[in-house]
C-alpha cells in the first residue's frame, strides 16, 4: 500500500494505492491521525487506485469519519471508488454513512 497526502486550502486529499488490510491499515490510521493532529478535519480519500480493503480498513475509516465530524468541524469523504470496493462498502452498510463522490475534483469542491 502507498499513501500520498496532499494539502489543499480547504481540505487534504489522501490517495491510497494498493491493499488496505490488517497489515497496512495502521499506516492509514496514522496518516488520518497526523492530519487531524495538525488541526485539519476535512479529508477526501482518493480511492481511484485502491485495489482491496478489508474490515480492518473499514474500521479505520469509521474511526476517521467520527473524529472528523466531531463538533461539526469537518468530514471524511470518499472519491473515485472502484465498483468492487463500492460493493464491499454497500454490503457493510457504509454507503449510507459516507458521502461518496464520482471524482476527486467534485469531492474537493464539496468542502
Amino acid at each position: 500500500m502507498e499513501i500520498t497526502n496532499t494539502q489543499f486550502k480547504h481540505c487534504n486529499v489522501v490517495k491510497v494505492t494498493g491493499r488496505v488490510d490488517s497489515a497496512t491499515s495502521p499506516q492509514l490510521a496514522e496518516t488520518i491521525k497526523r492530519i487531524n493532529d495538525s488541526g485539519r478535519f476535512k479529508i477526501v480519500m482518493d480511492f481511484s487506485e485502491l485495489e482491496f480493503i478489508s474490515s480492518a480498513g473499514l474500521r479505520v475509516l469509521i474511526a476517521g469519519i467520527k473524529n472528523c465530524r466531531r463538533y461539526n468541524r469537518g468530514d471524511l469523504v470518499l472519491a473515485a471508488m472502484p465498483e468492487n470496493i463500492h460493493a464491499v462498502f454497500d454490503l457493510a452498510g457504509f454507503t449510507s454513512i459516507f458521502k461518496i463522490y464520482d471524482d476527486v475534483l467534485t469531492a474537493v469542491g464539496s468542502f
Partner: protein, 135 residues
C-alpha cells in the same frame, strides 16, 4: 490441491491473496467473484491471527486450495483457540454513525460473500472451509 504453511502474521495476507487470485483465475471465476473470495480469505486469516492465536507470530496457518467442479474451496487450518461463530453478533448495518460497532463485520462479510462457510474443530486443529462457486 496445493497446501502451503504461512506464518500467522498480517504480512502473510498479501502473499495469501496472490495465491487466491491465481487459483480463482485457474477455476474461471470472474473478477468480482475473485475479489469476493480474496476478501473472505483475508477476513478469515485476520480472524485466525487476531482471535484464534490472539496476536501475530504465535502460530502457523495451513492454507489449502482445492479446485472443485464449479469453483474453488479454500481450507484454512490453525492450532489456536476454537472459534464459535454463534458468539459473533450480527453487525447492525442500519445503526447511525455514533452507535456503529464494527465487531463481527469480518465474519459477516465472509458469510455474505461465500457460497458456504464451514467450521470444524478437532482436538488438534481448527479447520475453516470457504467455498466459492461460479455464477
Amino acid at each position: 490441491m496445493t497446501s502451503i504453511i504461512f506464518p500467522g502474521r498480517f504480512e502473510s495476507l498479501a502473499e495469501i491473496a496472490e495465491h487466491v487470485r491465481k487459483e480463482a483465475k485457474a477455476a474461471g471465476l470472474s473478477f468480482m467473484e475473485t475479489f469476493e473470495l480474496e476478501t473472505a480469505v483475508d477476513e478469515a486469516v485476520s480472524n485466525i491471527i487476531e482471535h484464534a492465536y490472539g496476536g501475530e507470530g504465535i502460530g502457523d496457518i495451513v492454507y489449502t486450495c482445492r479446485q472443485i467442479k464449479d469453483g474453488v474451496q479454500i481450507i484454512l487450518e490453525d492450532h489456536g483457540q476454537p472459534f464459535d461463530p454463534s458468539c459473533v453478533p450480527t453487525p447492525d448495518l442500519d445503526a447511525q454513525l455514533k452507535n456503529r460497532k464494527n465487531h463481527g463485520l469480518g465474519y459477516f462479510l465472509m458469510c455474505q460473500l461465500m457460497d458456504n462457510v464451514h467450521f470444524e474443530f478437532t482436538e488438534n486443529a481448527n479447520r475453516l472451509t470457504l467455498t466459492k462457486r461460479k455464477k
